[in-house]
Subunit: 167 residues, 2 copies
DNA sequence: ACACGATGTATCGTACCCGATATATATCAT
DNA sequence: ATGATATATATCGGGTACGATACATCGTGT
C-alpha cells in the first residue's frame, strides 16, 4: 500500500530530523537530547525513581538506568537510596544544576518543531495536528485490540497525564 | 508551545511503535528492520554501493557500512570490489537469499502501518496523509531556508525518486 | 518466622546511529 | 607526470535502545 509507505517514511524522516535538529541545541550544553528529556523530567518532579522515569519517557528501565548513570558521572544528577524502600533510588538534580537550569535546558525540548510550525498558517497547523491525533489514536487502538504485551510501556495513558504512574 | 509538544511526542511515539512492531516480523527471519531496509534496497538495485544505500536510506555511510558488514557475516549479502572504480564496493544479494526473497522479506517494510490504516475510513486516512505531507514539506522548507550543512543527506529529493542519486 | 513471588535496579550482550578520522583510489590542475 | 584535492569505504569512540538476567528488597500467606 502506497499510503502506508509514505507515512512510514515520513515518520522515519521526521524522527531523524527532530533528533538531529535538537541535538545541535543540546550539544551546547554538553548533553544529548535523551539526556535532556531525563533532566527535564527530574526537574519537573524534584525527585523520581528510575521506574517512574521509564514510564513517563517511554524508555525501558535499562535505557533509563544507563542515561541516568552518565548524567550522574557528568555531575548533573544525584542518586540517593530511598529510605523507606531500599529498592528504590531517588534521582534528583545536582545543586550545581539546580540553579542554572531556568529556561536553558528544560525548554530545549521541541524548539525546532516550533520553528517548523511557524512556517505554517493556522489552518495548516490544524491539519498537521489532526493528522497526528487520528494516526496516534489508531495506533493505540490497534495495540489494545492486539493486546500487545508491551502494555506496560505502550499503554493507553501515554499521552494522558504525562506524569502520574497511576497506581 | 503546546502544539509542538504534542507533535514532537507523537513523532517519537509513532517511531517507536513502528520500530517495535516491525521488529517482531523481522525477527522471524533472523534480521532487524534496518537490515530489512538494506536488503530491500539491495534487492531493488541488484547491486549498489554503500554510498548509494546511505543516500537512499538516509543513514550515514558509517551506519550503512556496519549493517552491511553484519549482513555479509550472516550470509545475506556479498561484497565485491568494483572493477572500474576500486574505491567502490558492489553489494549484492547472496545466492541463497536471491531466491527465497519473494514476498517474505522485501515486503516486511510497513506491514504494521497498513494494519493501522485499515482501522480508519477513507476520510480519516486522507487527514493523516495530508497532515504528514504538510509537516514534512514544512520541515524540508525550513532545512533549505537554514541551509543545513546536512544537505547531502537531508536534501530536497528525499521523497522524490527514492532511488536515483541524481548525479 | 519463613518461604515465595513480586518489584526496582544494575549489568551484559547486541544492534543501531552518528561524527571524526584513516586509508585507498580517482580526478584534476599544472 | 606529479602533486593537490575530492571521493568511497572502513574503523573507532560514544551514546541510545532493548531484552535477558542477576540481585537485593519488599509484601504476603502460612
Amino acid at each position: 500500500m502506497e499510503r502506508a509507505n509514505f507515512i512510514g517514511e515520513s515518520i522515519e524522516y521526521l524522527h531523524r530530523y527532530t533528533m538531529k535538529s535538537l541535538q545541535k541545541q543540546a550539544e551546547e550544553h554538553g548533553v544529548t537530547i535523551p539526556q535532556v528529556r531525563v533532566i527535564a523530567e527530574v526537574f519537573a518532579h524534584k525527585t523520581v525513581s528510575v521506574k517512574l522515569l521509564s514510564q513517563n519517557l517511554k524508555m525501558t528501565q535499562s535505557t533509563v538506568s544507563d542515561i541516568v548513570e552518565r548524567l550522574v558521572t557528568k555531575g548533573f544528577l544525584e542518586k540517593t537510596p530511598n529510605i523507606r524502600d531500599k529498592r528504590l533510588v531517588d534521582i534528583s538534580l545536582s545543586e550545581r544544576l539546580d540553579e542554572n537550569i531556568d529556561e536553558s535546558i528544560a525548554q530545549i525540548q521541541n524548539q525546532s518543531l516550533i520553528g517548523v510550525l511557524d512556517r505554517l498558517d493556522a489552518k495548516e497547523q490544524e491539519i498537521v495536528e489532526q493528522g497526528m491525533q487520528v494516526l496516534v489514536s489508531a495506533v493505540k487502538e490497534k495495540m489494545i485490540a492486539e493486546d500487545m504485551d508491551d502494555n506496560k510501556f505502550f499503554n493507553i495513558l501515554y499521552f494522558s497525564e504525562r506524569d502520574e504512574p497511576k497506581k
